[in-house]
Amino acid sequence: MQNRVKTVKELVVNMGPQHPATHGVLRLVLELEGEVIKKCTPYIGYLHRGVEKLSEDLTYVQSLPLTDRLDYLSSMVNNVGFCIAVEKLVGINVPERAKFIRTMMSEMARICSHLVWIATHALDIGAMTVFLYAMRDRESLLELFEMVTGARLTVSYPRVGGVRCDVDNEFLDKLYKFTEEFPGKVEEYETLIDRNRVWLKRTKGVGVITAEEAINWGLTGPTLRGSGVYYDVRKFFPYDAYDKVDFEVPIGKNGDIYDRYRCRMLEFRQSAKIIKQCIQKLPEGPILAENALRIRMPESPLKIDKKDILFEIYTEDKQIQEFIQKFTEVYASVESPRGELGFYIVCDSSSKPYRMRVRAPSFVHAGVLPKLCEGSLVADVIANIGSVDIVLGECDR
């Protein structure tokens, strides 16, 4: 009997993988003392489908639908990212019209994704009404996606060298109308939560990441910008038509949940602005590069300086040296709603990628959770998970 009496000081709670607020199948093991979190350990991999490995057995074009399933809330951006990487690899020039269409679609996807984010984030904190309002507006965007691509969630619309099909005037009119109305809708959400004392209490000064920490953790996207760091792939390494449209990158100051929330709210408006400009500036012309259907994989070897001493030391074997030199590599990144989404492809001149890796922002953001959660309360865990905006499909791949 004596042995059975234990003094329990800490309570270990498994939050997830099936939990309404872990935004997918994230599992957090929380060690609690009362309601205060002493230790938080995220476990991922419950949604692992081996997308990167699968794509090694598929051609580049066949791999495209797999990228949809990574970040299913903004599949368009993932498609674009992958296409840009392949285009960079094989050196295809995308027609202007296709570039504008992609930009437009990427921003639509950004709004869609942010809408799901504000919906779930607000729901996590307890404001259910915002959830339904945001879902209502997302619906109109999904309908627009459906008009052009035939799909709502996993669109597979961009192609290597352009896009699959052209947009018509009806679509553009509807989209323009949406961009006109949307800022009003954003105001609606803000009325509900922005000046709400409960909301402010739950978000201001909670889950603070300083600019330095954010950079050290490798955070990107609104999560980084909330901490006041000015970095956006769209501005620094413009792709598609981002250098031809005018937009601002909103940044925060304190790096708390509220600032990250504000950043995304301001991005709503910027995205609407970009879409509007794209519609106005949309040029005529083809939507697919001429040589897109006759892609030749690069045969140029990987440019490694043979005099590089390190290279010599590590690869003394002549065979290995020759093997390595068969390859060429490419990394291209886009600004997904969550942050920098990068595709790294190693090509061995065949029609299939030799290796593919995805730099998923969600994966990096999931890593920062322990830092955010430790020392805070159970309710803050929920708010923090929402504020870094992770999608587990992308995180687990």
Binding site: P20, E35, G126, T129, Y133, N196, K201, R202
Partner: protein, 333 residues
Amino acid sequence: MKTLYIILVATLKTLIYFGILMLHVAYATYAERKVIGHIQLRLGPMVVGPHGLLQPIADVVKLIFKEDIIPIKVDKAIFRIAPLISLSAALSTFAVIPVNKNWVIADINVGLLYVIGIAGIGTYGIIFSGWSSNSKYAFLGSLRSAAQMISYEVALGLSLVGVILMAESFNLTEIVNKQGEYWYGMFLFPQIIGYFVFVVAMLAETNRLPFDLPEAETELVAGYFVEYSGIRFSLFYLAEYLAMFCMSALATICFWGGWTIPPVLIKALPVLGFVPGIVWFLLKVYFHIFLFLWLRGTLPRYRYDQLMAIGWKVLIPLALFNIVITSIFKYYL
């Protein structure tokens, strides 16, 4: 013979009360879904019956016939008793609540104390359920509930002291009658601070947003009743809605003049005097119920420490301040 008569009448009254209450609770769920539906731009129940009016009945049938799952490792006896404790506590409070002149099951002198005391017992149900469920989420939920109940029960009790001072009675009927003596017919105006504290504490007492931390479906999944299913789950729901009605009724009786309307209004519009008191009473109660639903559609949830801070650092000092003010006025006027 006389005793038998009294027992018979009391039983009859109780049965009528019980029936009407249950119907109200069933349709309170319907009202909730409709009101929230309109706030959130959706329809709410529409399929069963005209405008989904039979939905609560269908829900009850469904819940009764649902499989009653009891997890293996729960403390079975307590697990079974817990919802009953919550429910019976919630139901018992109605014994002393007068809905119209002389319409009350038990017109006792310590009515107000009785209501507050019995309402506190409901917490036992929640704590028992959380403890016996053998689930950490349920456990955390029940602990939260206990802490919340202790903190807010104090504020709730203190907020009513002003009313008690003014009415000079604990008897709920007496409190209503006393309000009729003033031309404005309500304690709402002189006791506005008390009313504010009462409303906030009442939200916390009934575990409604923004204070629904024991449930907190996004944090603790469903909190204390996470392991309950079918009819047992619905008993908790029943208790929650009953508590809502009870608190609304208490607010109506203590601050809004119960079944009466201000004498000023009757003077201005004598027709109003012919409307039965129960109508006014129910209107006032429904107003408070609507308040519950409206807040649920608007506000996010507080964090646990914030909830405690509001209870101890804002509401209790405010209630104490109210008592001091009321006492001073009472002494000099």
